[in-house]
Every structure is written in C-alpha cells, then in structure tokens.
Symmetry: C2
Subunit: 514 residues, 2 copies
C-alpha cells in the first residue's frame, strides 16, 4: 500500500468546529438540505443511526418497555394546560395553521385562506403532553401499572443556529414514558433508564460517560429530578448524551393520569421520561474522529470490514474478484461482538487506493485490499482504522496476514478495536478532569491558561437553590461554563462550597458544553 | 379449557366496517388520538408494523438500496416547480406558517405574528421533490449510478374522512427513490421493487396479491407508469397494498438530476419511486381477521407463542411458573421461518381464561395454558389461532401435546399457520374473481345480485385513453367501481372491449376498493 496520506484539510487542534464539519462531509455522513435548520442523513450517517437505534431498541425492549407511535401534531390546548411545560417549550416551535395550498394566480402557491385551522397544531417538540393524554386513558387500576412505553420519532424545535447532528430544527430520537404506582418505583425506573443509556453509550458507541443528577437550573421543565450522562469531546467540551427525568406527579396531575390502588383509592401516577437522539452521533464524531476522518466503533459500524479488490481491467480481474468473494463469505460467516460480522465487498468503479481513503475517512473499522499477488500468496493487506499509523515509522500500519488467519481472527480484531476506542477515549477523558480545585480563582485561571481545549473541573458546592443558584449560574456563564451534573458514582463532599464558602454537600462537574 | 366463546359483538357478514373498527379495539392495536385525522399506534399494532418494517427493510437492503433520511419540511418552491406534481398533491397538505407561540393574554397561546415564516413550509406528503434536489447534487457521472435510496418516515396528507390504518392524515411508510442511466434500467428497477413488494406481502403478511399496471387515470402524478399490488379483502373490496412508479425523466428534468455518460455527454436520469405504508396492516386485519378478532401471520406477529400460567394464588404457583419458564426457554431456543421463535410468558395479573381471550382477539398464532395438572402430566394445553374451532363439534379445537413434542414441533406448527393463512386467503380471493364477463350489463347485474361482498370481475378492454377513458371511468364510478390493474401474470386478450366494442388489447380487474 502506498503511504501517501490524504488527511483532512483541517486539523482538530487548529479549528475543532471546522474539523467537525469536514469530517461529516469527508465521511459522507450528512449534508445541509436547503431547508432551514434541517439536514439530510446520507447512507453512512443514517446507517450509523440505524445501528444505534437497533442496539438501544433491544435494550429498551429487554426491560419490558413497549414501542408505540403517537401523532406528529399536538393541539395548542395540550401546551396551554401545563404552565411549566409552556415556559420551557412554547418558545420556538413549528406551527401548522392551514391544511391546503392554492395557486396565488402568479404561478406560485399560498396557504388557502379558506383552509385555516380553527386551532393551530404544533409539530411535536417532545411528546409528554400527548402521551400523557393516552396514559390517562390507559391507566385505570393498579393492574395497568407500570405502564412503560417508548417512541422512535422525529421532533422539531426551531433553532436559529444549527450544527449538523448536534443542533438541528428537526432531529430523530427516542422518548420513553412510564407511569408508576409510587415514587419509589418511578425513581427506580428513572435510574434504570439512565443506567441503560450509560451501558449502551459506553458499550456500543464506545463513549465513556459520567452519569449524574442535573442541578435544579438544568432540569427538564416540569421534572422533579433530571439525570444525565455526560461525555467529553476532544476539545474538552461536554456533550449531554442522554437524559432521564423523574416527573413526580406533575404531568400526571396536568393530564389526569390516575389509577385505583388495591384498596380502591384513586391516586395520581408518578411518571418518568427519558430520551436520546441523533446528537449522540455528533458525540461519536467528536470523540473518535481524528485528522484522517471518522473512526466508527465496530458495534455501530454499518460495515465493520470493507474489502477492496485491486483490479487492472485485465482478464485476471475475474479470479481476483472470485477470491475476494471467498474472503467476503468467510468473514460474513464469523460472529463478533454478539452478531454476524458485517462485511462489504466494494465493487464500485475506481482505484483501490482512492477507495481506501474514502473508507478511512468514513471510519470503517477494518479495510482490506486484495490484488492478484495477494491472492497468489494467500494473503490480504489489512489496516485497522483505529491504529492507522505506526507511531515509530510514521508510516501506514498495514499488515499482511494469511487469509485464513485473518478470517478466523476477525472476531477478536473487531472486539479489540471496540475496546481500544473506548479505552483511548476514557483515558483522555480521565486525564482532562481536574479535581481538588477549591477556589473560584483557580477555576478562572484554569480556563485562561489551559489552552483551547481545557477539559472539566470537579468542585464541591453547597447545592444552593433559588437566587443563590441563579448567581452561581451567572458567575459560571461569564466564563462560558455550565454545571454538567453531580456524578452518581463520585466521592462524597468533604470540603467547602467554592461559590458560597458554606460546607459542601456534593461534588459537581463544571465544563464548557455543546 | 372452557368452551365459552367471547366473540366480537359485530360479525363480518353483518357490518364489515363496524367489525373492522371492533377488531382494532378488541385486539388493542390502535385508537383515535383526539388530534384530527391522527391515530395512536398501541404496542400490538405498532409491534406488527415493526415486524413488517424489519422484513421489508431486509429485502430493501438486500437489493443494495441504502436508507437515508430527508427533512420533514418541504419549501413551497419545490411544489411550484413541478406543475403535474402540484396538480396531484397541492390540495390537502399541512402548512407551517409560524415558528413561535406566544401567550395571547387570555391564558392561551397563539402563533407569534412576529415569527411568521417568509416562505411557508409544507409537511411532506411524499418526498419526490426534496429527494430529487439531493439526487441532483449526488449524481454527476455514470459512476454514481444507479443511485438507490429509501426512507422510512411519517408523511401527512390532510384527510377529511379517516379510517384507522387505511386513511389517516399522518401515516408511516417507506419510500424508495432511484435514479438510473437509462429507461431500460429504470424499468427493471420499477419491476424489481414491485416483485419485492409482492414477495414480502405474500410471504410475510400472507396476503395474496395481484401485481399489475395501473391504467392511465390511476397513475401517480408525474409518472409514466404506475404498477401496483392489489389484495382482496373479505368484503370483496380491493386494497392497493403497494405501488411502484417509473417516472421517466419527468422528475429528473424538474429537479435537474443529470449525469455525464461514458462519452462525456450530459443526460437526464430516469427515476423510479415505490412505496408501502401502514395501510398494509389494515389489509392484514381485513384479510385474516375473523369473528373472534385478529389472526396475525406468524412472520409478522410480535409474539408467535404466548404462554399463560394458570395460577391459583397458592404456594404451588411457584412450581407452575418455574415449569412455564422452562417451556418458554425451550421454545425461545427454537428457530422457525428463518428466525428465533418469539415467545411471551404472560405473567400479568388476571385469570388465564380471560387472558386467553385477550390473546385470541389479538391474534397471537399459538396460545398455550399451563396449570399444575398439565405440569404433573408433562403436557401443555394449546390452541392455534387460525383454526380455533373444531368444525365438526363447534367446540374449541384445543389439543394437549406432550411438552417436549410441542417444543420440538413449534417450528413446523408456525410454518403451517403461516401457510394456511395464506392458502385460505388465496382460495377465497380466487373464488371471488369472476372471469369471462363480456357484456357491461353482466357487470351491473353481478354487482346487483351478488350480495354485500361481490368480489372482482376480470374483463377485456381496448385500453382507451383521453376522453374515452374518462367516460369509462365515469361509467364504472356510477357502479362505485374502479379499475385495479392490468394483471402482470394474466392471460392475453382474445375478445372485444366491454366498454368500446373494439378489439381488446388486455385484461383488467375491476372492483370496489378502499
């Protein structure tokens, strides 16, 4: 293989935001659609989402949660009835006001004034209120509980500044909604969902995360508790990769979600909701991408192994292709990471060396090239995307294993790539969380002096609320900082609050964030 | 098992439309949402859709078609640019005109007049135009062809009279869109998609269909050819279960989908599109349902086998449950119809006899009950949903196989149910197509004298177009009849046209339709 490198034009260290855009386009994942705030998911980007969806859906179903589908449109009345919900969401939403188009007489089309809706409809920004209506119909008795449902859907939140995968007006997600007899059970479900997210995101997407509770000011509108998983990107910023909310009886009271308990008493349910979205793909890019493009963890790679035949427009090509097909079938019969190995024999026109770089940019975990000489020697030329360069020679770290060894070893190889991407990200994350900071001045100094990508700081605080919390939030905002969460598995507090000087009650992570 | 029957309150023969609604509610598949024209898919209804989706998606991917995702919103300009498209679709669509809600000062919310969109957005009724934009960007050279993409999405067509699964304002579907170098290849793709639909709908949904070309008046707006698969419901009406369109260069010219051929000449692509929707589930209900509820073909049943433990609130229950769990694990380890058997041990509260009827109404293919006596005898009590009643005795056709025999026989049993549902539907369909009708008066007489559910008639015609065709359509409309299609696999014409008296050129199926 030639050692000529076709890296991206922008490096992570030079301009992380530009690099991010370039990875998306170089890996052919997605593009702007021309429709304000909406993107087009291209096959490679959507294929990764389909993998995430399937793995997450298996986990959701395993917990006994059932998938449903609710209307895209939500009547205004649903938003009006729940004041705290309105405060949080009523701002930027797509509103349907007409149900017909007519010719404007000038060659164009306009909404038909005769077809104005009596009550405008909102394109769902989230489905708590409409699912709440259904839950109120479906829960009558304690026998109907717990009610655990999930929806895979598109949602719309009008966004002024968009960034592909991270912030778009329309995005794809799943939203779980559950109703329970009491607080205890609802809290358990909140934590089950959070732990399911942690496991999926760490094990499948190879993104190390810190699970914890959000402070009061970061709670979902109407929630009693909001929990999140937070991942660190390579620029040191935090990305919230999933949230799980304990909603108390707030939504139940607004929607009338009640049940009769074993003693015949009418009670309000305790509800939860939890969601993850296509934003996770943004997290995969910013965690695993490098200056050559994307690196996709094997579990979520649409193709884990790509075979490139080296053809020369000569009669021998037929034999080479037949040999490639044998290798393909051999690999396709292997199991790795609990599933059949997904392998593509890429027969599209073009030179193998050019196509190799296309697949490097896309981040296929393993790429192999096979020419007539390899065939004669019973070998393949292989690269693993996560360790593309030999750190000593600076050259492409390709290897030339025997065909049969390569095939029988593919299961271990993919497992190793999955693990090593996770370990690399976890080590980097751990190296970039600074602990033991006790003075606010250390915080400002840290973000001033630690370069472009400074990472996170763990501090202790007294968990203020109300006006004191507001002041803390303002103070952080001046440094472009936010509180990510109170780590679930963190140490107890043993010092004083960095903001108030009072005795600390817990530890929090602060960071710049997406 | 007790022989007391809990049939539906409405029989098919008495009121087919009411029966249809009752099946949906008795099988707990779906319900009205309270949002105009939109339904809620409940777990059993959505679970069936998920199965259909997965089986269809496997077939789509096998053909090398790649999934993408395009924006929900389509700018008006896309509809304006393609006149024939506008004629067909511009009538009833949901139009987004504002991107913000504000308080109206009276406790309610209104669209913010300050947040009016400069150009209204249409909620996609289908995605030809927006996908056409993308195709124009993605096809440059012959090397980029064929371009074959598919999208699973929700679409909205404002409907005044709705019926669950069959006609709702929002529905779920897949839409395939492909671009090709020439007419020949595009026509091949049109037929490949049609044949894929036939195979999926017949093999997976067990709905026998007739594949054929739609007459000119039934073509998709902008298409050169429209092909369909048509299924017969138990009331003798036709249901179009899928369509495949050859779009010629019409959409390519409107969207600028061009490529440079091997000689360097710029050419327009020939495109196709093809779609199936949640409407197919309506077809499953109206084909396989009976007066006891739904019968779900095993391939698309979320659960193929349901185990009901017969518990008595006594200490023995534990042993019964453990035995049931053994049976469940034994069944779950079996393969049938190419997949692992999907089995549910239903531990929800309630008597097994009542729960049995819930599962009969839902149409789970096999339901077994296990009590302490069955356990002692090493047996299970089983019913197969497709043959619930013994035709001789009129009693429940339950059987009491040995546990191990039942487990090892489950694969064959499910296959047999899948096949027998298909055969039953095909035989009924075939018995209800009348051929050899040569006079129009025979047609009117047929529909007058053949009861409520008269079936289809095959006639020969001269394939008129323009004004003559319009007259034919009118003539049929007076009898509430439509032309379904020209069967692909039918006999050649050998007579005269029933409408014009001219020599016939092909045979057509006429029927009342959904």
């Amino acid at each position: 293989m030639s050692n000529i490198r076709h890296a991206l034009t922008v490096k992570r260290e030079d301009d992380f935001a530009k690099w991010y855009q370039e990875v998306i386009s170089a890996a052919d994942m997605a593009e702007e659609s021309g429709v304000r705030g909406c993107m087009v998911f291209k096959p490679w980007g959507y294929g990764i989402w389909e993998r995430v969806q399937r793995l997450m859906d298996d986990r959701i179903k395993e917990a006994g949660v059932q998938n449903c589908y609710f209307p895209l449109f939500i009547p205004l009345a649903n938003f009006e009835r729940e004041a705290s919900h309105v405060d949080g969401f009523a701002k930027e939403m797509a509103v349907v006001t007409h149900h017909r188009l007519i010719a404007d007489g000038k060659g164009g089309l306009i909404p038909d004034p005769e077809a104005k809706l009596e009550e405008p409809l909102v394109v769902r920004p989230t489905s708590e209120t409409i699912i709440g209506d259904a839950m109120a119909r479906w829960t009558q008795s304690w026998r109907d509980l717990p009610l655990m449902i999930n929806q895979w859907a598109n949602v719309v939140r009008w966004e002024m500044r968009t960034r592909m995968f991270l912030r778009t007006s329309e995005f794809l997600w799943q939203e779980g909604h559950t109703a329970h007899a009491d607080k205890q059970e609802a809290l358990e479900e909140t934590h089950r969902a959070l732990e399911m997210y942690r496991a999926c995101v760490e094990e499948d997407l190879a993104l190390p995360v810190i699970a914890g509770e959000k402070p009061e000011n970061e709670r979902f509108p109407g929630a009693d508790e909001t929990w999140s998983i937070e991942a660190m990107m390579q620029d040191g910023k935090a990305l919230q990769a999933g949230t799980s909310h304990y909603l108390g009886t707030n939504f139940a009271k607004a929607a009338g979600i009640q049940y009769q308990d074993r003693e015949g008493t009418q009670k309000f349910c305790h509800t939860t909701s939890w969601g993850t979205s296509t934003r996770m793909i943004g997290g995969v890019i910013m965690t695993h991408g490098d200056d050559d493009g994307l690196r996709v963890p094997p579990r979520i790679a649409p193709f884990q192994v790509v075979i490139l035949p080296m053809l020369r427009d000569k009669p021998e090509d037929e034999a080479t292709l037949a040999y490639c097909e044998q290798v393909r079938a051999g690999i396709a019969a292997q199991f790795s990471l609990g599933e059949k190995v997904r392998v593509l024999l890429d027969k599209t026109p073009g030179k193998a060396s050019a196509k190799r770089w296309d697949w490097v940019r896309k981040g296929a975990p393993v790429v192999i090239e096979i020419g007539s000489r390899d065939m004669e020697n019973g070998k393949v030329a292989a690269i693993r995307r996560d360790k593309l360069w030999n750190p000593e020679t600076g050259k492409l770290a390709n290897s030339f294993p025997q065909r049969d060894e390569f095939i029988s070893g593919i299961s271990d190889l993919l497992e190793d790539i999955q693990n090593s991407l996770y370990t690399e990200a976890r080590d980097r994350r751990d190296a970039n969380i600074t602990r033991g900071v006790t003075e606010w001045s250390e915080v400002t100094e840290f973000y001033k002096s630690n370069g472009k990508y400074p990472g996170w700081i763990e501090v202790q605080w007294s968990k203020p609320s109300g006006a004191v919390l507001e002041k803390v939030v303002e103070q952080l905002k001046e440094e472009k900082l936010t509180i990510r969460n109170v780590p679930r598995d963190g140490d107890d507090a043993d010092g004083t609050c960095i903001f108030t000087g009072e005795p600390a009650v817990e530890r929090i992570l602060i960071a710049r964030a997406y």
